[in-house]
């Protein structure tokens, strides 16, 4: 059955209509131009100087202002300074490695929690070993979900661990994949009287376009355009907001590039277009993620300012509904637009995640499933429309 309700941003948010229009026209352009200099020029400088005939033929591309304009709008969405560096890639893993290498080059001991995305933890561990540094792993997830740890307590626990274990680096996840919105503001206050960390990296992959940017100074901010921004085409980004770390991240990117470790064609292409320095021939890049992300931002990303409370309200409305699924939620200040529900029946808990996900899909509901009969639903950015909430409730009751 086709999807009636799409509540899944864990992998890919539903494509924004503006992004879809751009993607269509960009594909049409490439079908006639291939990778001609016209396309290269479009990506670099935008369509502002296009003749009227081209604009008429590809109206979806008329709003594309070029790579620099995209970076400016991304900075604005991420809430980072106007002069922050922006590194763009097709895959987040390669940017994660770049950031992890920068962090462990500077830091003796970095603090991590179990809210981090497991793949990121694996990259952090491999870079930690490579540099011969230490990492302190602080488990907090169970205390958040089962012991009712609140935001102040979470911030104090992290700050205390940071201080007592002699850490000088931090890796944090702004909104975890299971919906915990980390209290960055509280942590900033708790760390105010301690020596400032030498490097702070924040994973905002689930936060960009979802939750308001937190006022927490960081050296690297990782995000993506294809989840809550809804670009529909993958685009990973790493911002370098702090002036003191931009040069370091740039230098390490250069080292990794010369060592052949930045094996991401889009990153290579955006670096080449950004600094104008020709690079050795590499793999062919797929640049539509750049244009689609720009269009999705222009089209209005959800989760900014006004819509975050709506996401929270939508999650609360669904959590309070009687569905036979138990909400697994943190205390109110740690909540986000991601809601976890756990099956109350033992039989459902034993179903493997992919089967559980498919059984909802067969009934028209797209979501993500985890072990133990846990499902993850990403809330829609607008208040539940008539019938949508009832539909979700009825589907949840049917899968029991």
């Amino acid at each position: 059955m086709a999807t009636a309700l799409y509540l899944d941003t864990a992998r890919l948010g539903r494509m924004h209509p503006s992004a879809l229009a751009v993607a269509r026209d960009f594909d049409r352009l490439c079908s006639s131009e291939g990778g001609s200099p016209l396309v290269e020029r479009l990506i670099r400088a935008g369509s502002a100087d296009w003749p009227a005939s081209l604009r008429r033929r590809y109206p979806g591309l008329a709003g594309w202002g070029g790579l620099d304009a995209l970076k400016s709008s991304l900075r604005a969405v991420a809430g980072v300074p106007d002069d922050a560096d922006v590194h763009l890639a097709g895959r987040s893993g390669v940017l994660m490695r770049l950031v992890a290498r920068a962090m462990f080059r500077r830091c003796r001991r970095a603090l991590l929690t179990d809210l981090e995305w497991p793949a990121h933890l694996a990259v952090l561990e491999s870079e930690r070993r490579r540099a011969g540094r230490a990492a302190i792993f602080l488990p907090v997830r169970d205390r958040i979900f089962w012991d009712g740890m609140d935001s102040g307590e979470l911030a104090a626990t992290v700050a205390d661990e940071y201080r007592t274990r002699g850490c000088d680096g931090l890796f944090l996840t702004a909104v975890s994949h299971d919906g915990v919105r980390f209290p960055l503001g509280d942590l900033a206050k708790a760390l105010a009287f301690l020596p400032s960390p030498r490097f702070v990296a924040i994973d905002a992959a689930q936060a960009l376009g979802h939750a308001p940017a937190a006022d927490f100074p960081c050296d690297a901010l990782l995000a993506g355009g294809h989840k809550w921004l809804r670009s529909g085409r993958p685009l990973a980004m790493a911002f370098a907001p702090r002036g003191g770390s931009r040069g370091l991240i740039r230098a390490i990117a250069g080292e990794m590039e010369s060592d052949g470790e930045l094996d991401d064609p889009l990153l290579g292409m955006s670096r080449q277009l950004g600094d104008g320095t020709p690079r050795p021939y590499g793999a062919t890049a797929e640049p539509s993620g750049l244009l689609c992300t720009a269009a999705a931002i222009t089209g209005g990303p959800p989760g900014q300012d006004g819509s975050f409370p709506t996401l929270i309200e939508n999650a609360s409305a669904l959590a309070s509904a009687t569905t036979g699924w138990r909400p697994v939620v943190p205390t109110s200040a740690l909540r986000s637009g991601i809601l976890l529900l756990q099956a109350t029946r033992e039989r459902i808990r034993d179903i493997p995640p992919h089967r559980l996900r498919c059984s909802f899909q067969r009934r028209g509901l797209a979501l993500t499933a985890y072990d133990g009969g846990v499902i993850r639903l990403s809330m829609p950015p607008r208040p539940w429309r008539d019938g949508d909430l009832d539909l979700v409730r009825s589907l949840l009751r049917r899968v029991q």
């Binding site: 080059r105 003796r108 011969g132 030498r198 100074p217 702090r242 002036g243 370091l248 740039r250």
Partner: protein, 304 residues
């Protein structure tokens, strides 16, 4: 071939003992047979006295011999201690043989000059033995410095650079050392450096140092060296902190003295744990005054 006495053979079985004892016994037998009793007693008394005298002088000789043996063993102690260390032992032998050869030279002027040079040499060796290596008016110390930094297991290098001029570490050896720093940072060595800057290189009130040294400072920051800065004038009350020194993990500490043109006058490398502790204390006190360069860059904001 000489016949060696058999080890463990009793002295009572020797010819010397047998002959002497036999002659003495015969003499005493004649005295007992032909001389009156007072003469016999006098002869016995003088024999006993002679024996006692011989025994006392033997003990004295044995004591002298023992002392000579101890002195000899004491002299042998050094080569014995050095024997397991072949490289040092070879050097010891070369020096000892050269000294023996020198002792055979008769010229008094040569002897005088040699003694002067040897006094200096022995001072240097004593200093080495205490874990101190001194390089004077040469950049050769950089080879040792680089070797130290490349030692496996050295996780951290803390360095203090007292930058008096814009030429600091800008000559060819200095640039080479910086390249070694960068290479080691890439390979995992954590380098922290405090820059003590003259006020004309970092004017009071300026957020960042002067453009004349900024490229050098920025390059280090960008390559991953954790930099902190302090103005020399801020250390006026802590003059012992104003120096060029480095801590090579827990292995050694080095102090560099430069002239006004930033050329090395002296570099002293110290391996003694007490020197290392003093340097660490100095580093910690200095860190209280220094500001991380990354924070200064943040403060400077866009268009710095």
């Amino acid at each position: 071939m000489d016949e060696k006495p058999r080890a463990g053979r009793s002295a009572l079985l020797s010819f010397k003992f047998g002959g002497t004892a036999l002659a003495g016994s015969l003499a005493m037998a004649l005295v007992a047979a032909f001389a009156p009793q007072p003469v016999q007693i006098a002869a016995l008394g003088s024999c006993v006295s002679v024996l006692a005298g011989l025994f006392v002088s033997y003990l004295e000789q044995e004591d002298r011999r023992e002392r000579r043996r101890a002195e000899l063993l004491e002299r042998l102690r050094v080569p014995v201690a050095l024997a397991p260390d072949h490289e040092l032992f070879d050097q010891y032998c070369v020096i000892a043989e050269a000294l023996a050869e020198l002792a055979r030279q008769g010229d008094p002027v040569l002897r005088e000059v040699a003694l002067l040079k040897l006094a200096s040499l022995s001072g240097e060796v004593r200093s080495l033995a205490r874990g101190t290596v001194v390089f004077s008016a040469t950049e050769a110390w950089r080879c040792v410095y680089e070797r130290l930094l490349e030692q496996p297991g050295l996780g951290e290098y803390q360095s203090v650079a007292w930058v008096k001029t814009r030429d600091y570490w800008q000559d060819r050896p200095g640039r080479q050392s910086m390249r070694v720093n960068y290479d080691l940072v890439r390979r995992g060595l954590r380098i922290e450096r405090v820059l003590i800057l003259k006020d004309d290189l970092w004017p009071a009130g300026a957020v960042l140092p002067s453009p004349t040294i900024r490229p050098w400072v920025d390059e280090q920051n960008d390559r991953g060296i954790w930099l902190s800065l302090v103005r020399e004038s801020e250390l006026a009350h802590e003059p012992d902190l104003v120096a060029d020194f480095g801590l090579y993990g827990d292995r050694a500490t080095g102090i560099q003295e430069l002239d006004d043109q930033s050329r090395t006058q002296r570099f002293v490398l110290q391996f003694d744990p007490r020197d290392l502790k003093l340097a660490r204390d100095r580093w910690e006190r200095l860190s209280l005054y220094a500001t991380p360069y990354a924070d200064l860059l943040d403060r400077a904001g866009p268009g710095r």
